[in-house]
Symmetry: C3
Subunit: 452 residues, 3 copies
């Protein structure tokens, strides 16, 4: 290479690297948060879900108050939360006479109140916070990255705010601690119960609630959980049946990512990779609190088999979809869908997409029924079957696979129809054939921008 | 106007007004109840749901008995309900030595027993009864009008009795008090719990149960409700989390209609009308028992946004449907559906209908798939999303809007198919084209009448 | 008949009858179990579900141990199950100083442990076991025949093992007792609660859980069941509301088949046959523990009406399906589906099938959408409506019939489409028309055999 090019390259790097840093910095500096912060504004509800970014103190009262004064006044204004606090560990008088008062977390100045972030809790609960942050090592999905990855997703700004608001409610687990330990008791006993988890871990793509409650473990909890002693730590011998936290947060460890093998059913993994063999043995050890080790290993092999079966079905469906796609039989086709406001690449160079990883956002909206059938097979039936297998809910495995079989029936029939009829229709109708007029407008191009 | 016409008009009015009164009177005088009382007969189960109209005493025992005698004998015959009564406030001995015995509500004559109506309960519980009746001011939907409006609906007589029986079970809330306070404890504590409400408030178009239980409020109830003191009144500070009754029947007021803003999601309303602004402030005051007023206002604005989004989708679907309808591409078309027995207007002058208000009954049955898709989008997905937003169940908002998006995909694709293919088919098949033969008979014309 | 033929017939019988016996004997002698035992091998999980056939002792420990020694060591190894045992009746010291130890059921030799079968439990609980076995008189469905009939079904070997594993989990109720009395407390109190039953009795075709919990009975249980005294026997006056076991296993009788009238909704029955009249009176007697006899009779008549209505809809759908079938408009047609590995008769002489009894296995897989719609209408909507009616869940009756109406809409429209379009397509496309290529391979012919 001639010296001239070296100089040019170096010069370019000198300009581009700072420019890149500057751009990312700028892009995060808008009214919203994350990479697209200039494209949306927070609504006031978000200050509770992402207080570090958005909380603004109420200013209805002025003055500085001691903790005792907070309690005195709020005993009449909001007696419920004061009652909660009184029952909490925070209200217990320590050996040195101290208590954790409202003001210790919210501050004393009533016109400059703080909404506690995990860092505030970490002042006393440092081990839990460190464990929680440690999840970041394992990437996403993880609790610790839940908010960041949500607001950095293109579809967070593409979709109407009224809809993504519901996402943020659960993703706020990353940015506040009372998702599991509800305010103002912040009780460990409460967080040990499955309901603490399933407020978020529910719904079609991850029916953790339904599959746990359908399992023998969950049935024992439902029968007798009301009389178990939830003040006990999550250790061998302390509970007649496991709960979410017993298996996923054993001994109270605030890090749930280090035993994850099948990745929520989202990716096909090699279940016997060296890393996964290590994780399997962690599961076997845990299950052995109650079960024979051999039985536990068999359950894990059962999950491998279920996953193999599921992926076989998904690949078959994907294979069927490729032919109508390449023959341009899908309607709306790529380029005929209203582009997502934020997706200027796709607006200029549209391309057809199949499945989840090829284009998550596109799979929900503005696709043809056959594509959507595959998406639902993938996202609801496949993931539901996985959760059923993982939590010992035989019924959900049956139902998930039944639904996948149904989806295959519909996808196969629709592909046949698209092929045969597409040909007949086009030949007959000639110029009059136009499947796409209806699609050229849509909620993304018309309805949303003014609302974001 | 010439005097002659005035006389004729007056004469006609003199005849027609009494005739109208007579007709309505006559029409309510049949074996059944309501406007179509001549077209159906009650089955014996209805005497329990609508005792005022239909209860007939058992005659297996004769004689007159005192309350003590009732209790003595029924302690062996039906010990369960006597146990319940013993635990009830009715069994408590008052200062004057009196108790409320079986006979006080059912009468003494065993061959002329009464099944208590709300009026019977009102003899002691007059305030609750007055509040309950006051709902009528707000029209329907309301508890107090539930039975009347059910039996006055055309489809109540058009549909097979085996099906509408299930409607009446819940609508009987208007005509007896033990829908919420189950017999024979009639416990206020029981009626404060969400299960008292969700026996009826459940199911696809109004998943009040599922959305409450999926919310943070509901999770707290599920975790700890078994140990709450349900004898306390529904007042600020008495409960760690709200239940149905806490928010909708605060302080035990038996009237739930006066805070209703979005009308169950059934109608698009102006959320900022003067009346609704007043109602919003009632909600804010209520939420402020625990939450900041500002946060509460934001939640209500979130509901406005969700509703706007939902109606945008519904209107889009309705717009798409209008074109195949006006081009007569729907099959069965109006006039090709078997007429509802009771709907002689539609039998003579059939017209196509879209959506809920244009024809509730028709949307369930004997319509083409595209119309039914819209109906389900409207009735299940839209209303489910609304309930999710109203009760703080983020998952249900997501799911409802996902389903509406799916419905739009199917409706759009089907409309394209109907347009292109309809043309191709008709041209090719000519006289042989006949989409409707299968529809000319149906359950309403053949199966039902003899059973009603 | 000439003597010669008599001799030949006798000779053939002499050969064929022993050959038949020999064949059945041989066919049950493979690695698996049941009629197709040579075609599959058990995975190790099955030893817990069908211990009599498959259990193999762990061999990680050697030596013979007394019961006290088992308890001593397992108090640290698996403290949870020892805790359970300590709370069980087995741990109670009897008058003669004896206890039921681990070794009494599992044996003393740690390398030759036994997994207890119902026969082991019957050594002490003979009445319960005798009642349970008595169900066999009533055929299938019944608990006692659940495992046998499962492994004898063709689709048990035809389907991938990963899928049928989930079936066996529940069908193991026949071959072990801890499906209801979970180990190691084996508590009668536990088994009286609905959760004991609904671990299995749940899911779309038999939503016993959802329908019970949606009923007034279930709501009472959910409200207050946590405080009921479950140690009481299931007798009149002992419980404020009935549970599964109260009605189906009154006074603890381990036989649930002798009051079965409507056969799970699977068959249309004559509800007033002499046998069913006897069964009805058993129900009326049971319901009369709390309700008026007359009211109970009406409820049963209501179920008759619901069933009549449901079968009317199913027959209508079946009627519609017959025409496209006889005109060979279904795709894939019989003979174009990949044959089930085990169904060599169908592979040679394929025939179209409609509905459940004409071909259970075929209805799930490799059928055209219209056939599958009917199957789902039959299997999910019809059976769900039935369970709703049976358990007093009005909502489920409404939903089931709504879904059946929806299915009729789709089936009717699809039948019209198949007829008109089938003709148009074939005429236009001529030789190019080929709806079936995609179907000639399938999971049964390719994926499964190596895994069974």
């Amino acid at each position: 290479m001639r010296p001239r090019y070296i100089y040019i390259t170096l010069l370019l790097l000198l300009v581009l690297i700072p420019a890149g840093y500057y751009y990312v910095d700028w892009s995060k500096g808008g009214m919203g948060a994350g990479l697209y912060s200039h494209q949306w504004q927070p609504e006031s509800g978000q200050q509770y879900w992402y207080p570090d970014a958005f909380y603004k103190s109420v200013d209805s009262m002025s003055g500085e108050f001691t903790g005792e004064q907070c309690v005195q006044c709020h005993s009449s204004v909001t007696p419920g939360i004061v009652n909660d606090w009184r029952k909490s560990g925070h209200a217990k008088v320590a050996a040195d006479g101290s208590q954790v008062f409202c003001s210790d977390c919210h501050g004393n100045n009533h016109q400059n109140l703080k909404m506690p972030t995990p860092d505030v809790c970490a002042k006393c609960h440092s081990q839990q916070h460190a464990d929680f942050q440690d999840e970041k090592r394992y990437g996403f999905p993880s609790h610790a990255l839940a908010m960041e990855r949500a607001v950095d997703a293109k579809h967070f700004v593409d979709k109407p705010k009224a809809e993504v608001t519901s996402c943020i409610q659960c993703h706020s687990v990353a940015t506040k601690c009372d998702s599991c330990h509800t305010r103002h008791r912040f009780s460990a006993a409460e967080a040990r119960r499955p309901e603490a988890c399933i407020t978020c871990h529910s719904g079609p793509p991850h029916p953790d609630d339904a599959t746990y409650f359908a399992s023998a473990h969950g049935k024992l909890y439902q029968k007798e959980g009301a009389s178990w002693d939830w003040s006990k730590p999550l250790k061998k011998g302390n509970y007649p049946a496991p709960t979410c936290a017993y298996c996923h947060m054993g001994e109270g460890k605030h890090q749930v990512a280090d035993k994850s093998i099948w990745k929520f059913g989202i990716r096909q993994i090699n279940p016997l990779s060296s890393g996964n063999v290590v994780k399997r043995e962690k599961w076997v050890k845990l299950c052995s609190d109650c079960h024979e080790a051999d039985w536990s290993r068999q359950q894990l092999r059962g999950m491998d088999a279920e996953r193999k079966q599921a992926w076989g079905k998904l690949y078959k469906a994907e294979g069927i979809l490729k032919s109508p796609r390449s023959d341009n039989l899908l309607s709306p086709a790529a380029g005929e869908r209203p582009p997502y406001p934020n997706d200027w690449v796709d607006a200029r160079w549209p391309r057809a997409r199949i499945g989840f990883f090829e284009g998550q956002a596109s799979a929900f909206y503005n696709v043809s029924p056959i594509e959507r059938d595959y998406f639902e097979m993938w996202y609801f039936d496949n993931l539901g079957a996985y959760k059923g297998a993982a939590h010992g809910a035989a019924n959900f495995v049956t139902k998930g696979h039944q639904n996948m079989d149904r989806a295959l029936i519909d996808i196969e029939a629709e592909a046949v129809r698209l092929r045969n009829l597409g040909e007949a229709e086009r030949a007959y109708l000639g110029d009059r054939y136009d499947p796409n007029k209806l699609w050229l407008s849509g909620e993304y191009t018309e309805l949303n921008r003014e609302q974001n």
